[in-house]
Symmetry: C2
């Protein structure tokens, strides 16, 4: 069994938790453990690292407190199952884990878990308290993105050349941690993180990554953890800038913010997922004028867009004047713009004119 | 310009349509063309080929009939844009196409298209009347699936070895037509079409395709056209059986039926998309007993499931006695079962016990 160093460390951490509980029981203490508080009042935007972070408030979970007993039991079950999974060198989905642990406790009518909404927060507790990603706990999150470009991936015995994927791409796996996946022979000048799969396909068909020496990735809408983690690794390991290409609407801009500094719900993991170096290359409402995009292909903002826009204006990470100006303009013009709308200017306008011009003129939002 | 034979044929077909309209105009006739009726009363289940098909009713679209004029204009626009796209050797999404053609007609207040729901049916009209897939018209449908296994894909200059994808897979592109993609060196005994990505990942992690000589594909829920077309091609070109592995619920069973004989909405293309040879390997409600799956991990049918189950019982393609018996049992037991529930029996139960036993004992539903 060739367990990675990381796995051995994780197993050690898990064993220590178990040993401590065992010690407490043996010495007649009430079994308890400490875990970080994951509610809003312990989550903040760290302006220095430009990342959403978890504060240092903690709470105790006590077995002999009836309000905690069920969750205590569930935590022990999940931790022990994770140990088993790592030992078996498998990775399972969080849904698998839920099913594997669900049973009626002998001699009672009580189930260990009623549904997955009970086991998921326990997993998050363990991630946060052990400061480990769920991938490091051998739990697979979903991943749906694809990547191509001037680099290779070493994954187990396979070396995957991302310049030779044809019109498809490499489907990003759930776990892209360094002990699983090595990034090799990277020869690129930037990463282009594209919101939409259809647009990614256009860039890939035009072999944009070849002429422009870059990496093309899409998360097909809101990216999964794996796509974000992989981009963070490329950014950190190769000092590559990351450009995000999104629809000019509140949704696209929000996705950008998640790529850049993370989300509140994953605050405890954002240090390993967020890429604060990311820049917003487009689309912007200002592009409509700059690139003379016909009015017919813009879309009127609806009520929901306006509401979302107002919320986003208040977010700490959108306080920079460039973003406030873009939001103001969007509200004033009351329009949004999809990436596909650039097709009005020609099939290859986006790859041959729009993108190169934006990069050349350093026309980014921060 | 290296246009494929297929593209030349498609362009020829498009030009003929244009020439005929031109001839009509020149000779003072009312411009018109014929197209197949795509309403329910012209769609049927062909028991011989076991596929959903379009009947032979047709209708005329006349320029000088005010009820048809707008659609006539739109059809000409779409056909002419498709000709341009093929000539430029590009592929665009149907959303791109909509934007590219949207404009206010000179001297009027009228837009060519108000939104995409106007251009999509026109594309379907052209597909149906020319008997071409939209991929052959260089229009990209979305695709989200991944594939691995004992085969190679030749795509342009790249040869992609699907045994060397690491823990990821090859992201299936939109267009998998023979003039774009060649299936090579296939050394497998069956195709396993898995409903869920998380389950596909389990099979891929266990290198199931290696030990069991097979191809593993998932469409991540309801598969896109590309995944279905690729599986049809493998089935036809290599005479490989296709097994579908789905949740034991009305939704999973419906997805199976789409893979096998197609859907009503794509009836005009099912000849090229459906794989009537597909067999249903599981899950079934009967499996609960056969494999002694604990009651706690089954889920109670809800009202919506029951309604869907009753509808499905009436479908022509589910009339076989084995399916009627399965539906009866599901109703009687009032339970459904997810693939992940097998994790209750062990992390690798599904790959090491369940699947091999089902195949060995030929325990399929037709």
């Amino acid at each position: 069994m060739a367990q990675s160093k990381k796995d051995k460390e994780t197993l050690e951490k898990l064993k220590e938790v178990g040993k401590e509980i065992y010690r407490q029981i043996s010495s007649g203490e009430s079994p308890a453990y400490e875990l970080p508080v994951r509610t809003l009042n312990n989550i903040y935007f760290d302006k220095k690292s430009f990342t959403i972070k978890l504060g240092d408030k903690t709470s105790q979970r006590q077995f002999l407190n009836v309000a905690h007993t069920r969750k205590f039991m569930q935590t022990m079950l999940v931790a022990s199952e994770i140990k088993k999974i790592i030992n078996e060198e498998a990775t399972v989905s969080i849904r698998d884990l839920y099913y594997a642990l669900k049973h009626t406790i002998e001699g009672t009518q009580e189930n260990t878990f009623e549904d997955q909404s009970e086991s998921d927060p326990i997993i998050e507790d363990i991630e946060a308290s052990m400061n480990l990603l769920r991938e490091e706990l051998h739990l697979a999150a979903s991943s749906k993105g694809v990547i191509v470009g001037n680099m290779k991936i070493k994954d187990g015995k396979d070396t995957i050349d991302l310049t030779k994927m044809g019109s498809g791409g490499w489907g990003v796996p759930s776990n892209v941690e360094p002990d699983k996946i090595e990034i090799k022979d990277l020869d690129a000048e930037f990463v282009l993180f594209i919101e939409k799969d259809a647009v990614w396909k256009r860039f890939n068909e035009d072999k944009f990554w070849q002429q422009n020496k870059c990496i093309l990735i899409t998360g097909r809408g809101q990216p999964s953890r794996a796509e974000r983690r992989l981009v963070q690794r490329i950014n950190k390991e190769y000092k590559l800038p990351v450009y995000a290409l999104m629809d000019a609407d509140p949704w696209g801009m929000y996705i950008y913010s998640v790529i850049k500094q993370g989300s509140i719900s994953l605050s405890y993991s954002e240090e390993k997922l967020a890429t604060p170096d990311t820049k917003y290359i487009g689309l912007t409402v200002r592009d409509v004028e700059t690139f003379k995009i016909p009015k017919e292909v813009t879309i009127k903002l609806n009520k929901l867009d306006e509401k979302r826009l107002n919320e986003m204006k208040g977010y700490d990470w959108f306080k920079k004047k460039e973003w406030q100006e873009e939001f103001r303009l969007m509200k004033e013009k009351a329009v949004k713009l999809e990436l596909e709308a650039l097709s009005k200017k020609g099939i290859r306008f986006i790859t041959e004119t729009y993108l190169p011009q934006k990069i050349k003129s350093n026309d980014f939002l921060p």
